[in-house]
Symmetry: C2
Subunit: 693 residues, 2 copies
Amino acid sequence: MTDYKGSTLELECINTIRAVSADMVQTANSGHPGAPMGCAPIAYLLWNEIMKYSAQSPKWINRDRFVLSNGHACALQYVMLHLTGYADSKISDLKQFRQLGSTTPGHPESFVTAGIEVCTGPLGQGISNAVGIAMGESHLAATYNTPELKVFDNFTYVLCGDGCLQEGISSEASSLAGHLGLGKLIVLYDDNNITIDGDTTLSFTEDVQKRYASYNWHVQAVTDVVTGLDDLRTAIANAQACTDKPSIIAVKTVIGQGSPHKAGTSGVHGAALGEQELLDTKKGYGLPNPELKFQISDAVVKQFNTASKKGEDSLTKWQINTMDKFSASLPEKAQEIQRRFAGELPTNAFDDLPVFTIGETKDLATRKFSEGCINALVPKLPEMIGGSADLTPSNCTFPKGGVDYQKGTPHGKYIRFGVREHAMAAISNGLYAYGGFRPYCATFMTFIGYCMGSVRVSALSRFGILYVFTHDSIGLGEDGPTHQPIEQFEQIRSMPNIHLWRPADSNEMNAAYESAIRNKFTPSVLACSRQTVYGLFGSTKEKAMMGAYTAIECEKPALIIISTGEEVKFCVKAVALLTAAGIATNLVSMPCQDVFLQQSEEYQASVLPGNVPTLSVEASAVAGWHRFSHAQIGMDNRFGASGKGPQLYDHFGFTPDNISNKGKALVEFYKKNGNIPALRNVPIFEQFGKALH
Amino acid sequence: MTDYKGSTLELECINTIRAVSADMVQTANSGHPGAPMGCAPIAYLLWNEIMKYSAQSPKWINRDRFVLSNGHACALQYVMLHLTGYADSKISDLKQFRQLGSTTPGHPESFVTAGIEVCTGPLGQGISNAVGIAMGESHLAATYNTPELKVFDNFTYVLCGDGCLQEGISSEASSLAGHLGLGKLIVLYDDNNITIDGDTTLSFTEDVQKRYASYNWHVQAVTDVVTGLDDLRTAIANAQACTDKPSIIAVKTVIGQGSPHKAGTSGVHGAALGEQELLDTKKGYGLPNPELKFQISDAVVKQFNTASKKGEDSLTKWQINTMDKFSASLPEKAQEIQRRFAGELPTNAFDDLPVFTIGETKDLATRKFSEGCINALVPKLPEMIGGSADLTPSNCTFPKGGVDYQKGTPHGKYIRFGVREHAMAAISNGLYAYGGFRPYCATFMTFIGYCMGSVRVSALSRFGILYVFTHDSIGLGEDGPTHQPIEQFEQIRSMPNIHLWRPADSNEMNAAYESAIRNKFTPSVLACSRQTVYGLFGSTKEKAMMGAYTAIECEKPALIIISTGEEVKFCVKAVALLTAAGIATNLVSMPCQDVFLQQSEEYQASVLPGNVPTLSVEASAVAGWHRFSHAQIGMDNRFGASGKGPQLYDHFGFTPDNISNKGKALVEFYKKNGNIPALRNVPIFEQFGKALH
Ligand SMILES: [Ca+2]
Ligand SMILES: [Ca+2]
């Protein structure tokens, strides 16, 4: 590297980044040194010259965002956060890379480490999040900036690898980003020709640059960052200057750059170099004390102190010249920004939720009640932004008077995601990550299978996204089994930190939306019917917010029926039949298992004592219901079918008659067999292991 | 349409297809008339002139495959199957479109209707299946054809719409198809500028043709099929002639062609035309008796009879000139083909499954035992073809002596899917659909969230795919919570017609593979550990094939512990501690809940009587375990963390000590509180509603 064209200090900085990243992986004896070593020049340039950020105020709302889409390369990011002075990335933290409870976990976690914007690791998520982040910036800029005062004016930078660009989610997001002309999104593609299986010629020989051109991106290539950074500097400047298209820069790098025996091979992707190879590598870098780890020279420290200081200065300048003036001239707008980024709600947020009066208000499908809630909340909550994956008329998600968010109308808040479910969810995560948003997005319930990867990231990241998933049962009818959810409810219920709401009527839908909005760190799925339901006499929003409640109550129940959503309407009739037959029956409506399980033991026992014969009725997999009921009417290990919705309900046994007959049979069974399993007579063990973060 | 350039009969045929499709939707008052009306010319050409098929032998192995990727347009396909004489698509069937139990369901179902290759409807699946189908053809051709005898020599045609091309899954599959140079795959893109939300300018403005060129496809455009078919004829001929690249033809169509008020609008996408509009449309077509439905003139009938006859002739010719000669000259190969397409197994299929002798055989991670099974089965089962989504070294799926399936080596059986999980699963479905294959494919367990949509289609379609999902718990360690499955087991267990196997040792892994291979109509997920496990003294393949069995048995157990996979090793030690403490404890290993639940009541009760205090131990969501156990040690509503695998197991309570302590506490609890809930003392209701197909 004697022919390095930049300064000696620049090269030393870059090699130090490489070396410390490799040291981290070697010390952990786990991790991915190859990408950090290859991408160190890119990171150096971004943090040293390009990006504006504040290590002291990592949440500065106008910071440039950086997303490490190839999350396995996170040693690189932690090193950069260390060099620029972030509190969670001290040298002692770098030494704890990938260790239990550290602030330097094996993939970036936004709730663990200051300076990390999103959780990445599952490939393709980061670049798709970044599309959402860039949309967030453009929307807030269009909403709040004045010609003089640019409160929101940041770039979003992404580093991604081949894996991210092979994933379909990034294709979806990138196509939409091109459509939307996101001029301040700049993707740096680590074009190193290597994936885990080996050379990209094994499976990835498409022309990536041409593909991004087809998406209407601004495309550049930089063939060398090993001998100097001027080409990359120019390319980034060009990307910044191109304001009407997102930019991608394909940067040729060498994975594991500098490793004498492993550079350019998949062997350096996901394993430590080994002590000897590491030593030889550092010797090759010409760094002092190569036998020691975590060595950063004073010159390098100083260089990054300067960069960090420049970042703080840019914050100060923005505060004085922009934000303070904005607050002075537009105090209400400033307060609104402050409120949105603090995740606080206006006091009147829920005042306009629809009132349903049985016998007066029109009976509708719960998707229409959902629409009513959206119409009630969106005017109160400017932070609500959302849309549908090309099912707007079916999902009923377009708010009254809504304006599309488009290239020419970035102030609009309705997003036309296209038929791109996976990117839709990841973009929603990106909007949330930008700050100041409570995104909602929509498709048919069954298509959660197209976006489960991103829904999981919402839950893991503690991002309170609202997922409006309509057509939530066989009741949707003729579209048939490909479109009819069966296992999806249990799939969501079994996922940590996410609430599945399946309201039975308008009051319960109000509860679902209020709960979803209030739970800002927990995503919520709002399951909605295509078919009409009827107001439940015993329902109120307040009761429903307990997750489950007794909707029809009798003195001494001989039987309890639990149900959810649309099927509650059959149970109401079944209860009438049972009561007429002399079997005193309670009906429990359970719009949200997750929230019910958070209630006190006393409350739970008051609704579901567990020693009264209990029958659950839900047109879904019975898995998961055994903790609440002795017998289940469900879709046990079978898919739906194509036919009229009501006929399907009949065919599969969701009829008042069948429910009532099974209720009777259950009561008879225990008259004969006694010994009702007391479902609540189980010990409650305290959870082992405290939360780490 | 007076200026139609083809014959009057040709136009009458096309208009009849349009009219009958619209009649079907009108009669059902449900469905999608727009795409059939727009695409009728394409369908006419394919079935009348282009494709070779046999209505009498719909499973003819060398038929051209047709995949309707825009499955909502299936009225079109049913009409074509009717006109060409398929048994399941009589006029009476067309009149039952979308009705319960009919052979003309709302989206195509391969197990319902002869002539349907795959279940489509979820967008993007069909085109991705077709990539697998075309791979299947090229592999079998390379494997069996001789220079003179082309047993396998068919094209795969796809009709798809904008929605399919917006989905990431199709991007993944198309990129791979270009890489593989699948010259006999021909995609007809219904380029109608309309999606459900409205004009494609709302969200889909990329240059599709340029994108497909970037994938290395052969790309053509046809701007008109309304006034004649010559341009399309030429384009298809060109596509057939291009043998080293897949072809896409962007065909400009008008959605709802001919509808006076709705053509070209999203209003005609997903709803019946209405009686008056239908009448006016048919009048516009110039068809006789427009006021009547399902009218097909004798001339049209005759035209398609001729086409159908031509198809039967091509089968006869192939049988005599190719297959019979092949059978005569290569009888063993012919028998193998016959066996593979019949889905039969060679008698010695499982003879080489690895033998594990405790104390002699090396203890390994179950992913290595999985590798052993692959190595034992692949040489016996040429129908096993598979690969990994760029995690080959981690998934351990490359068979000894394997050869990559690549453009230059189509006889190879190891598929480099790239980082494309969703397409991987859909391609596996396509290979299965082609016939003669038992595909396996692999990624990390947590990334099932990236391919759930396709996994569901496997289960629904009754395609016995093997999903090898490794790194199946927090035990994977440092990669952290994005990579650690929690809810995934329950997500699979709650899905109909799929088996989740989580073997604890080598014997159980053998059982898992044997079960997976024997269940040809049920996909199986093989969950594998990254960490070492130890041979279980009580295990045998035969016991494990029951789904659950008592691995450590005592005379009169005071406690039963159930566990799965890697955590069984902690439970073995816990049982020793408990026994030492005077608590007689059974250990039940439960590698497959799904298979266990298929056993007799007697067997199930013998393993899990339900009235003995029972503790389940699995490092996953506890949802779903309550039917088997009174208390659970699991990952209840929490994600994992980054750290060393063993430390994570310690942190979250998967230790012999904690298991033993909780076991004691459970026994104590019932000593004090009595009334052990008898988990099996529940009625078993017969399933309501017979299977329809
Ligand atoms: Ca790479
Ligand atoms: Ca279209």
